[in-house]
């Protein structure tokens, strides 16, 4: 089904790993001059991913394409920089998407099944204007679509027929992009702790690239003093409702408390926010806030619910422009705080 040219296009496939195993190459071979095209290409992949968030295609040297991908991944993993790994995974996944969307349904079907273990059917259905090539099993669809924000990916907006979600060829390629990204991130998280000698200088050089393009890893995440102006509309609304003595349902209260805990508001301030509630009990509120902050019970600090959850439970309120770029109220807060203060590290690629 797949040719060597395919493996060069999609070096994350299981078949590509098998191919490399068959070549019988060890990490020490990398130092030999024969491998310089591989190393060069590996570094180019990294440099492009870090600088532009994209990796361009090269089709000339198929072996270099296939071999350079795991080398890039290895170098990056050895830097231990997770944000760079995520950026690389995204860049490679996007590159794959551009190629996948031009493949035949048969090839897409094969890749989805063999590398990613999907269950899907070729359906050739046209219930309306659009033509659908695939029915994807619900679980495989959802695992990937939950990361995608456009309304067209929401399940109620899909055709769901006996457990199969209809998808066009192009949509299948887009869902596979998510799968590719996840696979690359997972792959980079299980690698040797020690740096193989031939790669030492490459790892150092890549660290330099990461600093250059992604900035110094900084502990700056959130403003040190909670900044009310940076809060998202839903949280402001919750605070206003409480202040006016309106009833706020459980999910709203949990959202507010977990949001405030996570932006580093003090316990006293959080309890104060709940004070105007008509059923306010200082003891209960304090207990619950401590629980959410991870000081009680399971000792887990709770994070703020995702925007999608808030939509489902009717907590989302008048989403604005920043809302369309984020998936959690805390990210809104980070974004807005950065805009307000006009500083902070370079924005991580989305």
């Amino acid at each position: 089904m797949l040719t060597r040219a395919d493996l060069a296009k999609y070096p994350f496939l299981n078949e590509a790993s098998d191919y490399i195993k068959e070549l019988g190459i060890s990490i020490d071979d990398i130092a030999s001059p024969d491998f310089s095209p591989v190393l060069e290409r590996a570094e180019k992949r990294l440099e492009e991913a870090l600088s532009k968030g994209r990796v361009s295609n090269e089709f000339g040297n198929e072996n270099a394409e296939i071999l350079s991908f795991p080398v890039s991944n290895l170098i990056l993993s050895l830097t231990g920089e997770e944000r760079a790994q995520r950026r690389f995974a995204l860049a490679e996944a996007k590159r794959a998407y551009e190629l996948l969307r031009q493949e035949s349904p048969e090839k897409l079907d094969y890749i989805a099944r063999t590398t990613f273990g999907w269950k899907l059917n070729k359906i050739d259905a046209q219930p309306g204007k659009r033509f659908y090539d695939f029915g994807i099993s619900l679980a495989d669809y959802l695992r990937n679509s939950v990361h995608l924000k456009e309304p067209k990916w929401k399940l109620p907006n899909r055709i769901l027929d006996h457990g199969l979600v209809y998808a066009t060829r192009e949509e299948l390629a887009r869902l596979l992009e998510e799968e590719v990204r996840t696979k690359i991130v997972d792959r980079s998280s299980r690698l040797p702790g020690e740096i193989p000698k031939p790669l030492q200088p490459k790892v150092e050089r890549t660290r330099g690239l990461i600093t250059k393009w992604l900035g110094v890893p900084s502990h700056y995440e959130l403003p040190r003093v909670p900044s009310p102006e940076a809060m998202p509309p839903c949280v402001k609304h919750l605070i206003d409702d409480l202040a006016e003595g309106k009833n706020v349902q459980h999910m709203g209260r949990f959202t507010l408390a977990s949001f405030l805990v996570n932006i580093g508001a003090g316990e006293e301030d959080i309890v104060k926010a709940f004070k105007p509630a008509s059923d306010f009990s200082e003891r209960m509120t304090r207990y619950q806030v401590e629980h959410i902050a991870g000081k009680r019970g399971g000792r887990t600090k709770y994070t703020c619910p995702m925007c999608t959850t808030l939509k489902t439970h009717g907590v989302c309120y008048k989403p604005d422009d920043i809302c369309s770029t984020i998936r959690n109220p805390l990210s809104y807060y980070k974004s807005k705080a950065r805009i307000l203060t006009g500083k902070g590290p370079k924005r991580e690629p989305s």
Binding site: V146, P156, I159
Partner: protein, 404 residues
């Protein structure tokens, strides 16, 4: 424990001690967490696990809980603290409860009281007290034929979507009456057990049609040579598309006056043969009906056809849920399995009755109700001799006191 609770507990104990008694434990019983709400000070015993149905029954006989629950989740160590349990999967569960339905009979049997100023009212409790704007409202609910009939209809819609849209095998589903005001559906399948909260939320949104955009189902207006033409989904198309049209068909057959259409629009639709919906294409065949009227109808159709599930239950992958075969402390009725093909004929006021004999109680106030073939009440400050099931219902609903 007050006197009523003592009597209820005693009757529950007799029920569970019956030598023929069997519980209906869930699949993979040893991988679940169990929880019991006790009469004694409303105390919850959690994080328990049982090797087999018999040891579970023994615990129920010893504790005599007012409510018995098990986790929808499977754990490696069900008795460990929450974060160390080792989640390995969870049933996909759905809860349909009259609490979430807007039935017209609620003013007849539900009422509320403001804890702050004492104002009272009939029907489901408002969010705020209309007099003092306080939100501490005490609600007294009742279970009636009408409410449970609507819950049943919602359940039927849910099952239909689970089978035809989600492709869930009916061998993998179990349907239960909750013993109070609704029904539970559990799905046991490898495919769905691994779904995370976000994925389950998408499923909940699908069943409720939350976020459904008709345009993404190809409802739109196109312009052909200056003439505006409506286009949209057709009957028989899979998923929400066909269901939207089926919903419009239902609406055109009945309740057109209350859905916010003008009298001209209603008139135009009434003089149009709705059977046109079943032939295709129909979107331009009704005179005087354009895209905006269709949009109103689509919105109403979606509302009508969606299944009113409780989203919190479905999205929670660590939830405790009532165990069938146990008594519901809110009513004294049995939570029980209902074969899906029997849902239509299932009578929640006959089959789940658990108590026999007679009891004397002093009823404060109660709406009229039916159990089995017999009608009871309404009562107001009177002492009555009743079949035990009826007396227990009144005691459990805090509508009566026992007579020593």
């Amino acid at each position: 424990m007050n006197q009523a609770e003592q009597v209820i507990r005693q009757k529950f104990q007799q029920y569970y001690l019956d030598p023929k008694r069997q519980l209906d434990p869930p699949l993979n019983p040893s991988e679940r967490e169990y929880g019991f709400l006790l009469f004694n000070g409303k105390f919850m015993v959690r994080h328990r696990s049982f090797k087999d149905p018999l040891s579970l029954l023994t615990a129920v006989r010893d504790l005599v809980p007012s409510h018995v629950y098990f986790s929808t989740a499977y754990y490696r160590e069900p008795t460990a603290p929450m974060e160390e349990k080792g989640w390995t999967g969870a049933d996909l569960v759905f809860d349909i409860d009259a609490d979430h339905l807007n039935t017209p009979c609620k003013p007849d049997h539900d009422n509320w009281k403001c804890k702050a100023c004492g104002t009272t009212g009939n029907g489901g409790a408002p969010k705020l007290c209309p007099k003092c704007k306080n939100d501490r409202l005490e609600e007294q609910t009742w279970l009636c034929d009408r409410c449970l009939q609507e819950a049943k209809e919602e359940t039927a819609k849910l099952l239909e979507m689970l089978y035809t849209d989600l492709g869930i095998d009916n061998e993998a589903t179990r349907l239960f009456f909750s013993g109070h005001r609704g029904y539970h559906v559990h799905v046991y399948s490898k495919q769905t057990s691994q779904l995370g909260e976000e994925e389950r939320r998408e499923i909940a949104d699908y069943l409720l049609a939350q976020g459904l955009d008709p345009q993404l189902h190809e409802l739109e207006e196109t312009s052909v040579g200056g003439t505006k033409l409506a286009e949209g989904p057709l009957i028989g198309q899979p998923g929400w598309r066909g269901r939207i049209v089926a919903g419009i068909y239902d609406i055109l057959g009945s309740e057109m006056d209350q859905i916010g259409l003008t009298s001209t629009q209603v008139h135009a639709l009434k003089s149009w043969d709705r059977e046109n919906l079943l032939r295709k294409p129909f979107w331009n065949s009704a005179k005087g009906i354009g895209i905006s009227t269709w949009k109103t109808l689509v919105t109403k159709a979606v509302e009508k056809k969606s299944a009113k599930i409780d989203t919190v239950v479905t999205t929670d992958i660590h939830r405790l849920i009532r165990m069938p075969g146990t008594l519901n402390g809110h009513t004294g009725l049995l939570a029980m399995k209902v074969p899906e093909e029997r849902l239509d004929e299932f009578d929640p006021f006959t089959e789940p009755l658990a108590f026999h004999g007679q009891m004397k109680v002093k009823v404060k106030v109660s709406p009229g109700f039916r159990l089995g073939e017999e009608r009871f009440g309404p009562y107001h400050d009177e002492t009555v001799q009743l079949p035990s099931a009826a007396a227990m219902l009144l005691l459990c609903k805090h509508r009566a006191e026992p007579i020593a």
